[in-house]
């Protein structure tokens, strides 16, 4: 197959042999090991857990380690580039600092109300809050949603789908201390109210999470708080 790889400003063309069950990450690894050792890319686990190998494949952001070539190959051709909406360090490697800084800005850190001397909190998986948290908890931080989001592209301050999804799971975590700062952090022009509900994040999330649903939840929660004068 013909593979076009984005190298800073231009695309470089490679010819890569096809194999059964070949992933896009296999293709990039083949190029780096056999054809051009100067190619920079990032990966770690190869099994869809670490969230480090996301790239733009034939125009759409994807986790490359779990994307089979069969599914994305068009006219025997693959185009591979770095994720959108993030600064490129080199070739296929993006700088993810801003992406994770936004998690911190959305107060994405768990702060429990109990200490290590307390007993475990018993949380029923069947409660409304736990089900809402569970729906978003499997995020691996791959930034595919962030790269797919047009609002991030248009509004650089926007926290993005992943950070807001994280805030929503914590808001629904009954073990958390009450944190009014978090609601303030996720409201407004940089927060959930900037979302236009395009649903590109939900469409692209490799873990089938719906950040759009989380953001809608945050809109409800922040509106309720605002009406009570607690925002």
């Amino acid at each position: 197959m013909r593979v076009l790889v984005k190298r800073s400003t231009a695309f470089q063309e490679f010819e890569v042999p096809r194999h059964p069950s070949q992933t896009v990450l296999d293709v990039v690894t083949y190029i780096q090991r056999k054809l051009d050792p100067t190619l920079a890319y990032r990966y770690a686990c190869r099994v869809g857990m670490c969230g480090s190998c996301a790239m733009t494949v034939n125009g759409a952001p994807r986790w490359t380690c779990r994307t089979h070539v069969d599914r994305v190959l068009k006219n025997n051709e693959l185009t591979i580039g770095p994720l959108r909406n993030l600064p490129v360090i080199r070739d296929l490697v993006t700088d993810m600092r801003e992406f994770f800084d936004k998690w911190a800005r959305a107060k994405g850190r768990f702060e429990g109300a109990r200490t290590r001397r307390d007993d475990f909190e018993k949380v029923s998986p069947r409660t409304k809050h736990r089900e809402a948290a569970d729906a978003g908890i499997e995020c691996i931080g791959c930034a595919v949603c962030y790269s797919a989001c047009d609002v991030v592209a248009a509004n650089p301050a926007y926290l993005g789908p992943a950070a807001l999804n994280r805030a929503w799971t914590l808001l629904n975590d009954v073990r958390e201390k009450e944190n009014p700062e978090r609601l303030r952090a996720v409201a407004g022009d940089a927060g959930c109210h900037a979302c236009h509900t395009h649903m590109d994040c939900t469409e692209r999330c490799p873990k089938h999470i719906s950040p759009t649903a989380a953001i809608a939840g945050l809109k409800r929660a922040t509106t309720k708080a605002a009406l009570k004068g607690k925002l």
Binding site: V151, A154, N155, A187, G188, D189, H193, A194, H196, K219, T222, T223, A225, A226, L227, L231
Partner: protein, 109 residues
């Protein structure tokens, strides 16, 4: 807080506008059946308090709704985000309100 309330105001006015626009379009479709004349329109609206209230609500809802939407458009497409954007939008809102209410009063009085 302010931005959350702006968002809420936009949603509430959207719900009002959905009804208003539907009624407005249905009325137009019905009213043009026998041709369209100024006399016919004024005959329907002049001195009619129900239409006065309806179109006043319509105008107020539009004057609130449109500037909030335009705020995002200006921010995202023109990167215009400072205080002057807000000043412009307040001016825009009052312009819509003034022009709209002029028209409403014009066909009522």
């Amino acid at each position: 807080m302010t931005q959350t309330l702006l968002w809420l105001a936009q949603r509430v006015t959207a719900a009002i506008l959905a009804v208003c626009v539907a009624v407005h379009l249905a009325t137009i479709t019905y009213a043009v059946q026998g041709g369209l004349t100024a006399a016919e329109i004024l005959g329907r609206t002049r001195g009619n308090t129900a239409w006065l209230v309806f179109y006043s609500v319509f105008v107020v809802a539009a004057a609130i709704h449109a500037p909030i939407g335009l705020r995002s458009v200006l921010g995202e497409w023109l990167k215009w985000r400072g205080i002057w954007r807000e000043v412009f939008l307040v001016f825009f809102a009052y312009t819509l309100l003034w022009l709209g209410l002029q028209a409403v009063i014009g066909v009522f009085a």
